[in-house]
């Protein structure tokens, strides 16, 4: 290819002449690809450490907690069971560290790690034969309570005796979820140590893990175990629950990123098309010259696609690397599996295709440039002349009039510029909406069903006493008795949570989004997730087994339900059977306005002599805090895109007016007025784009968040539109920044000595 060398020189020279714009293009595309990769990784569950942990520890799919050690041989003959872990004796103890008590399940473990569900030592070491008093602690628990290798691990047994143990190692495990989502914390010790701490067999339980040949199909093994062990079973857990508890709200984050990424891709395509198109327009004469030198149409096309496409592809490569870095190193330092090849290829290929199409269209037009460079590429006449005349009539400054006229002389680039600015601005507005929604979660937890800042479990006290203590506190506004039981839906295949809180006469202030609050026995409200699961609507009567008792539930409303994917049935405690309701399992405490939950908790603990168990509600927004980081990062990327568009628009404006500048000056405009004319032309596009983007973003954001809420089971009714002040500030900042950016080249052009020769 003889043209390769010539083309390479041309491309090099051109890139050198517009270095800033080129870098901007690369960065913007890279940012978009990073967002897409990160979102796909999150959506693909790659951030959920469960997958990796389970594979590395060769985990068990089902864990059975029984009073006594079950018959291993019989368990291993159950359908689908491949291997059995344990049974391990486990004793409940309390870790008392700095006056803080944390429940711990102390589990026996052999010196030789087991073949199934072996904890993965991350720090320190595993247990050794002589380790009397040594424990290996599950890592998330150790982090939560501040344990270090070599540090003390003082525990109190049920008998009340204290034992000074020492942490010898920290290990990861897929046996149970992370602390504190999953309690009690887990620690392993040698059987001899365990026996010394809890000699009474009756106060410990036996834990057995089943590794199945097909993890998807846990039902036969679970049913088999229940039949086999019957009364012995205290509780069971499967890998699904473990995985769910390890999950951050990855899906929400992933969807948000995907939305931003996809919209960003559209914006990037527009920016690329605009940049390429603008470049082709400004270079019409150079391209014609190339053709007169012997470039064919196809070769011009190839050169343009190569130059502009290469920038995009470079951005994609950079984005792939960044995406890898982001998913490996940031996101909470969790171990993350890299994206599997199919979505990776899809993202790479898809973005590359978008980039190439965006570049190819203007490049094709460039290829069709007639080869007669003498033909002056004058801009078409202003189409807004009537508007301009009107502006003159009302005595607007001449710079404004001229600028207004100029803004739309080239219609396609103008529209591309406006849309190219509007799309990023729309996404930024949506990001602000997410931000506002999170703020709203934090400021008004009652709107997301978290009116009770504290829950009190009676612990060692009688329930009445606990309620009395809670009511006695000056900052407690209301106390609602509560109980949680599992409810089986009609087909009996899935159990959901039934939460009784308050009574029918005095219901807990759930956040009712549709319908009404329950007001009689047998009435209940449900989260969106449960309604979807049951295929039920408000007003339906559903037959369910609640806490083992058949009950016909009249669903009278839908509440905003941030927990358990919205698959929660909420009802009055008087609707439960007496065995579940009396005494209440816990009390939900609604505090007075402005009370500090931490202080109330401390007072309650003090008042009860540490006998009560007081938990603070975790606001879903706190778990979603990482979204704010994402919003900021994406805003930066989108701003880059907008900037790229802006530079194109202003370069095109300058080019079209290079000749007029001399004329304008000759007409008597000062350099400042000339600059103002140029800035007005670009600024008008900016104002249009930013205003349109903000308006569209603000009008769709609440709906989008509610849609996301609906699909995630939380239910609609959480979306918030950013305040008018925020919107105005954002739009104002964007316009201001854009004008500042436009001013620099305009001033330079206005100052420069303008050659009067043709271009």
């Amino acid at each position: 290819m003889s043209t390769v060398r010539a083309s390479a020189r041309w491309i090099r020279a051109d890139l050198r002449a517009r270095r800033g714009q080129a870098i901007l293009t690369v960065l913007a595309v890279a940012g978009i690809v990073t967002a897409l990769i990160t979102s796909a990784t999150l959506l693909e569950d790659g951030t959920n450490p469960w997958r990796r942990l389970f594979a590395q520890t060769k985990g068990a799919h089902v864990w059975i907690h029984t009073e006594d050690a079950p018959a291993v041989a019989a368990l291993s003959r159950l359908p689908g069971v491949e291997q059995v872990a344990g049974p391990y004796r486990t004793a409940p103890v309390t870790l008392v560290l700095d006056g803080k008590k944390s429940p711990v399940a102390l589990r026996e473990a052999a010196v030789q790690p087991p073949r199934v569900a072996a904890p993965l030592v991350r720090e320190g070491r595993w247990l050794r034969p002589g380790d009397a008093g040594g424990v290996v602690v599950e890592r998330s628990f150790a982090q939560a309570v501040g344990l270090r290798v070599g540090g003390p691990f003082p525990v109190t047994a049920l008998s009340g005796a204290s034992h000074p143990l020492v942490v010898v190692g920290l290990a990861d495990s897929a046996d149970q979820g992370f602390y504190p989502e999953w309690t009690p914390g887990l620690a392993w010790t040698l059987p001899a140590t365990l026996a010394a701490i809890e000699p009474a067999q009756g106060r410990s339980e036996s834990v057995t893990g089943l590794r199945l040949s097909d993890g998807e199909d846990t039902l036969p093994a679970v049913h088999g175990a229940v039949t086999l062990l019957d009364e012995q079973v205290q509780r069971m857990s499967t890998w699904r629950e473990v995985r769910a508890s390890m999950e951050l709200d990855n899906r929400l984050l992933g969807l948000l990123l995907a939305l931003f990424g996809a919209a960003g891709l559209v914006a990037a395509a527009l920016a690329l098309a605009n940049a390429t198109g603008g470049r082709v327009l400004t270079q019409t004469r150079d391209i014609a010259t190339l053709k007169s030198l012997g470039y064919t149409r196809g070769q011009v096309f190839a050169v343009l696609v190569t130059e502009h496409g290469a920038l995009g592809l470079l951005g994609i490569a950079l984005g792939l690397a960044c995406g890898r870095l982001v998913t490996t190193f940031t996101l909470d330092g969790l171990p993350i599996l890299p994206l599997s090849p199919v979505p990776l290829l899809a993202i790479t290929g898809g973005t590359a295709a978008v980039v190439l199409v965006a570049v190819a269209l203007p490049a094709w037009r460039g290829g069709r440039t007639p080869p007669i460079p003498a033909a002056p590429a004058a801009p078409p006449r202003g189409r807004l002349s009537r508007l301009a005349r009107l502006a003159l009539l009302v005595r607007l400054p001449p710079a404004l009039v001229l600028g207004t006229r100029d803004a739309f002389t080239r219609r396609t680039p103008a529209v591309l510029s406006v849309v190219g600015l509007a799309v990023p601005m729309m996404m930024i507005t949506i990001g602000l909406g997410c931000w506002a929604t999170l703020d709203d979660f934090l400021r008004h937890p009652e709107r997301v069903g978290q009116a009770a800042a504290l829950t009190v479990h009676p612990g060692r006290l009688p329930a009445d006493e606990a309620a009395r203590l809670a009511r006695a506190d000056r900052d407690v506004a209301a106390v609602y008795p509560g109980a949680e039981v599992s409810a089986l839906e009609p087909e009996q295949t899935r159990s959901v949570l039934a939460r009784a809180l308050g009574t029918s006469a005095e219901p807990y202030p759930f956040s009712v989004a549709e319908g009404r609050m329950f007001a009689a026995r047998g009435e209940a409200v449900a989260g969106q997730g449960l309604l979807d699961l049951l295929g039920a609507e408000i007003g339906d009567r559903v037959r369910m087994t609640v806490g083992g008792t058949p009950l016909i539930v009249h669903i009278v409303g839908r509440v905003v339900e941030p927990e358990h994917d919205g698959e929660v049935l909420s009802l009055g405690i008087d609707s439960l059977a007496a065995k579940d309701a009396v005494p209440p399992q816990f009390y939900g405490l609604v505090l007075r306005q402005g009370a500090d939950p931490e202080a109330v908790r401390a007072r309650l603990l003090a008042a009860s002599g540490e006998a009560l168990e007081v938990r603070q509600a975790v606001n879903p927004a706190e778990r979603l805090a990482v979204i704010r980081v994402v919003i900021v990062a994406l805003t930066v990327v989108l701003a880059l895109l907008a900037l790229a568009n802006l530079l194109t628009a202003s370069a095109l404006g300058l080019r079209d007016h290079a000749l007029d500048l001399a004329v304008l000056k000759a007409m008597g405009l000062t350099p400042r007025q000339v600059a103002a004319t140029l800035v007005t032309g670009t600024g008008l596009l900016v104002v249009l784009g930013v205003t349109a983007g903000t308006a569209v973003g603000a009008s769709v954001v609440a709906g989008l968040i509610d849609l996301q809420g609906h699909t995630s089971g939380v239910g609609a009714g959480i979306g918030r539109t950013p305040s008018a002040l925020t919107l105005a500030t954002a739009a104002g900042t964007a316009i201001g920044a854009a004008l500042l950016v436009a001013v620099i080249p305009a001033r330079r052009a206005a100052r420069a000595q303008v050659p009067v020769t043709a271009r």
């Binding site: 010539a6 020189r9 050198r16 150079d286 007169s292 030198l293 012997g294 149409r297 007639p370 020769t757």
Partner: protein
């Protein structure tokens, strides 16, 4: 007179036009153009660099046909220096553009170095231009982002020369044009005359058989005009075939032959009006003449 001649040629063109497939396909790979030309009933001594037969160009301007060139027969022999003159809008640029394939012709024939060229497609014309045709335009048309050196090396590289070859050729050319020192300058840093000399260097980089110049001095002051014309005279003396469009009779007087166009037709064609002032202007004469 030109009308009659045009009429006769048109008939010839019609006859040979009875075999469009052969005519459309063969010229590009025809190894023996002379024979073909002979069979086209136009015997000739040696192949002219350019020959046109009844060349017509009609622009469509919003549905209204605008005839810019109306049946031009032009024959330029190797080594000739032809000036094309005529009032504005007479079709000079259009004619030159058609000769270089920048504008497709409406009808008629164009022969370059004895090969039929008007039937070529856009790409084939581009390939032809790389090797055989050099262009100089009124507004210099240097690629703004590239240095002078790169601008001049571009055609050589395009024609497949190695970077070393291209550099050597460029050094020689710039040397000859007295621009060695400006090799690394950007075109915008050069004066108009310098830019036009660079454009000339670029046009000559591939030793084209034909140099087409459309008002090369149209945008220059007298001093720069003199420099550029001096150069054109020199390359002509070295055997370069040149067709130059100009408005300026004094510039045209440098040529061997002046073709006058009016309304797209040749109204006068002859050697430079015998001794208009002097028999044959050399560059030096022009300098005196204009100075």
């Amino acid at each position: 007179m030109s009308r009659e001649a045009g009429g006769g040629r048109r008939r010839a063109a019609d006859e040979s036009g009875t075999d469009p497939v052969e005519r459309g396909e063969r010229p590009a790979r025809d190894e023996r153009p002379a024979e073909r030309v002979r069979s086209g009933e136009r015997p000739m001594r040696a192949d002219p660099v350019v020959a046109t037969v009844n060349l017509v160009k009609i622009y469509q301007n919003g549905g209204v046909p605008v005839p810019a060139v109306r049946g031009v027969d032009l024959r330029v022999e190797r080594g000739e220096f032809v000036a094309i003159m005529g009032p504005s809008g007479s079709g000079k640029s259009t004619l030159v553009h058609m000769l270089g394939g920048l504008d497709p012709r409406t009808s008629g024939e164009i022969w370059l170095d004895g090969k039929r060229a008007d039937t070529l497609g856009e790409s084939a014309w581009a390939l032809l231009r790389r090797k055989k045709i050099g262009f100089v335009f009124q507004f210099f048309n240097l690629v703004a982002n590239m240095t002078v050196a790169d601008n001049v090396e571009l055609p050589a590289l395009l024609a497949g020369a190695s970077p070393r070859e291209a550099r050597e050729r460029r050094e020689r050319l710039l040397d000859a044009l007295g621009l060695t020192g400006r090799a690394d300058a950007a075109p915008a840093q050069l004066a108009g005359g310098e830019q036009q000399r660079v454009a000339l260097a670029r046009a000559l980089a591939n030793r084209p058989s034909l140099l087409l110049a459309d008002e090369p001095t149209g945008n220059l002051d007298s001093r720069n005009t003199r420099d550029v014309l001096k150069l054109l005279g020199e390359v002509h003396r070295d055997g370069q075939t040149i067709i130059m469009v100009t408005h300026d009779a004094r510039v045209a007087s440098l040529a061997d032959r002046v073709v006058s166009l009016l309304d797209g037709q040749i109204v006068d064609d002859g050697a430079v009006a015998a001794p208009r002032r002097r028999p044959k202007g050399t560059a030096g004469d022009v300098v005196e003449l204009r100075g």
